[in-house]
């Protein structure tokens, strides 16, 4: 398959993630959409790595994976602590910086 085919799939998945962030109000699903965007970019990294016959793209995927894991840990901890203080996790209601 040509490189552009993989990049198109990656672009579509990225757009689905962007639309998910825009239309959902549950922070957990917004988080999942962000993960979807990270994975879409990973797909294009691997495709370009394959096309250039170099392992560098796979290194970036590895680093993105680590950053995603760290991001999920901290983000879910924030969501849980918001839930503990407010008993409600609708993003439209989170309009204050102080608890």
């Amino acid at each position: 398959m040509p490189l552009s085919a993989y990049l198109i799939v990656s672009a579509i998945l990225f757009t689905v993630g962007v639309v998910g962030v825009l239309i959902r109000r549950n922070p957990l699903i917004i988080f999942m959409s962000i993960e979807l965007m990270l994975n879409a970019v990973n797909l294009s990294f691997v495709a370009i790595s394959n096309s250039l016959d170099s392992a560098d793209g796979q290194m970036f995927v590895f680093l993105v994976l680590t950053v995603a894991a760290a991001e999920v840990v901290v983000g879910l901890a924030i969501i849980v602590s918001i839930f503990r203080t407010r008993r409600n996790i609708d993003v439209d209601d989170m309009n204050l910086l102080r608890g």
Binding site: M1, L3, S4, A5, V9, A11, I12, L13, T15, V16, G17, V18, V19, L22, I23, R24, R25, N26, L28, I29, M32, L36, N39, N42, L43, V46, I48, S49, N50, S51, L52, D53, S54, A55, D56, Q58, M59, V61, F62, L65, T66, A68, A69, A70, E71, V72, V73, V74, L76, A77, I78, I79, V80, S81, F83, T85, N88, I89, D90, D92
Partner: protein
Amino acid sequence: MTGVQLSFYVLAVASVASALGVITFKNAVHSALSLILTLLFLALFYLQLGAMFIAIVQILIYAGAIMVLFLFVVTMLASEASDSELADRIPWQRWVAGILGLVLVGALSYLLFTGTAIDSSAKATGANSLAHVVATQGNTEAFGLALFHGFAFPFEVTSLLIIVAILGAMVLGRKA
């Protein structure tokens, strides 16, 4: 149509469909399961592209560890986790988001089709090429050689990032 093409189209349709499931399911647990499915399809894409180590790591770390963490939190907040039926604060938000999404995917596809091709001099050749290293050393060995020769410093910085993330989670999870 060759086998590679057939598997590409099947995987492309399946991954986009399960990605749409993530953003359309009302129940957050269903969204999480749909995301796991998307991640598994992406792992198959990586296998197709010859990135075996990345495919396995994707299944173990992403679909395994990260998504289990997600499911823990989703089920913990289950009563609140299903998307509220509250009226939208901005009623036209969905339509605008859909139109903007179409604009984004159109612009990206336009750029991919009309943009300049990757310079062929950027392509690795001879003993440096990934195919050559994979053929002589093996797949995971090729990954390890590239990681610890060219990317040793970013790899070490990664450990700092993980320490900071653990500390952050501990501080946030402390009994306030």
